[in-house]
């Protein structure tokens, strides 16, 4: 299992979601993607992305103005 740590802090829409999609392409089922961002849009975007792609949103939290989204890749064919 590989963990992809993506630092999208300081980037605004569509930065974090672009970084997420690029990492997802490289990841395999079972891998984790941890996305760090300062753009508050990242949480609703990641939620709707996980819902639509059928990947697993493990955690989404805010701390001191920064957001951390953890996704488990589960939906690749």
């Amino acid at each position: 299992m590989t963990t992809y740590n993506i630092d999208s802090r300081g980037t605004a829409c569509p930065g974090p979601i672009t970084d997420l999609i690029r990492s997802y392409r490289k990841a395999a089922n079972g891998d984790m993607i941890i996305l760090l961002a300062t753009d508050p849009g990242v949480i609703p975007d990641a939620k709707s992305w996980c819902g639509a792609t059928r990947n697993m949103l493990v955690d989404a939290k805010e701390k001191d103005g920064e957001y951390e989204v953890t996704i488990k890749v589960t939906a690749k064919k």
Binding site: S8, G10, T11, A12, C13, P14, G15, I17, T18, I21, R22, Y24, R25, G41, D45, S48, W49, A52, T53, R54, A75, K76, K77
Partner: protein, 397 residues
């Protein structure tokens, strides 16, 4: 200066103007490495593909676009070694030293990531001749399904796949065959346009024009036999004609260097574009990894900032400038209407309604493009971009 496209030409022009005295006194020389004999106006690829503009109308000889005081070396850069301040060109492995270097080598389609795409796709990114194949194909369409959209990230000019959808729709309506042809737009993003304010503007137009959208579709491969695109999740979309936007890659000599990321995009400071850990080296335009659109406007404004700062370091005059992250990409919505995607690092993208005035502004840009690379229209850029043209560094370092 490596790369003589939108970013490289304005940077070298501004440097030659700012350092004209030093160049006369032979204290400074500027060399531009450019592999191509001609340059193309890339936004015009859409016109070639969907309106049948002749490819040659988009071309100018590189030599004519270079300002006095800049020496051109027509060669492909094979390596850039920042630790040893050295450029090596491909032909004859010639070596060149430098005190400052600016990389502006753009990006281009990368078909290697998507099996089957190269064989089946026609794009409006590779060059004007390749774009013209789309128009020839459009002329033969009687019925079927056209699929446009984003096959992978990143790519240049974020609105261009949406523009393609609108322009295909316009072509088919003007030729009275729209009812026989379906248009499907695919995108890996969760919205038709990833920035919500612009999505709010164009999503209703997609419904109005009957353009089907498949969001969160991560194109994985194309099956030329089944005429089907598959997503990473195993979903499929059928096509008869494929005009997808391929993921893009930077110039190959950048990959594997200690100053680029794993895909070869050059890691820079997003305010002054210096390459991480090297204050004498810069990367501007499509080839760097800053979190903005890959667009000519960015390349231009970044080039103005970098040229100013290099000239300031050499002459000791002036103040340091910083890039604001300003983006301004036009998006044609068909039938001579356009909107703009406008924002900065600090200001989210605005909601701008499509209009004929916006379209006219886009056309003005086309007319002044070549002159703007010489720096002829900086007064207009300054007036138009106002505080976003650049910001001043608080510390004069």
């Amino acid at each position: 200066m490596i790369g003589g496209g939108a970013g490289g030409l304005i940077t070298s022009s501004k440097l030659s103007a700012e350092l004209s005295e030093e160049i006369k006194q032979e204290k400074v020389s500027i060399t531009l490495f450019e592999r191509a004999e001609t340059q193309e106006f890339q936004p015009g690829y859409l016109e070639v593909a969907f309106r049948g503009t002749e490819p040659q109308k988009l071309r100018r000889p590189t030599e004519k676009l270079v300002s006095p005081g800049v020496k051109v070396v027509h060669a492909k850069c094979a390596s850039l070694d920042l630790d040893n301040h050295q450029i090596v060109t491909e032909k004859n492995q010639e070596k060149y030293d430098f005190d400052y270097v600016v990389v502006s080598t753009g990006c281009s389609p990368d078909y290697s990531q998507t099996p089957g795409l190269r064989e089946e796709n026609m794009d409006f990114y590779t060059d004007a001749d390749v774009s013209s194949r789309i128009y020839k194909t459009l002329q033969g369409i009687k019925s079927g399904r056209v699929v446009v959209g984003i096959a992978g990230l990143p790519y240049k000019c974020p609105p261009s796949p949406n523009e393609a959808a609108f322009m295909v729709d316009e072509y088919l309506r003007r030729h009275g065959i729209r009812k026989n042809v379906d248009i499907t737009f695919v995108t890996p993003y969760t919205r038709i346009y990833t920035a919500e304010p612009i999505n709010q503007v164009i999503a209703p137009l997609y419904s109005e024009r009957d353009i089907e959208s498949r969001t969160v579709f991560n194109t994985d491969s194309v099956d030329p036999v089944k005429k089907e695109i598959s997503s990473l999740e195993g979903d499929t979309v059928k096509y008869d004609y494929l005009f997808l936007t391929p993921p893009h890659k930077p110039a190959s000599f950048l990959k594997g260097t200690n100053y680029s990321d794993e895909d070869g995009w050059v890691k820079v400071d997003k305010l002054d574009m210096h390459i991480t850990d090297h204050d004498f080296a810069f990367a501007i335009g499509d080839t760097n990894n800053i979190p903005t659109s890959k667009a000519g406007v960015e390349a231009h404004l970044e080039g103005i900032v970098v040229a100013n700062n290099i000239a300031m370091n050499i002459t000791g005059r002036g103040t340091k400038h910083l890039f604001t992250g300003r983006t301004q990409c036009s998006m044609e919505t068909g039938f001579h209407d356009a909107t703009f995607v406008v924002g900065t690092y600090d200001r989210p993208v605005e909601k701008i309604k499509p209009s004929k005035i916006n379209y006219a502004e886009k056309k003005v840009m086309e007319h002044i493009y070549w002159g703007s690379l010489h720096g002829h229209y900086e007064w207009l850029f300054k007036y138009h971009f106002k505080q976003d043209y650049f910001s001043e560094s608080p510390a004069k370092d």
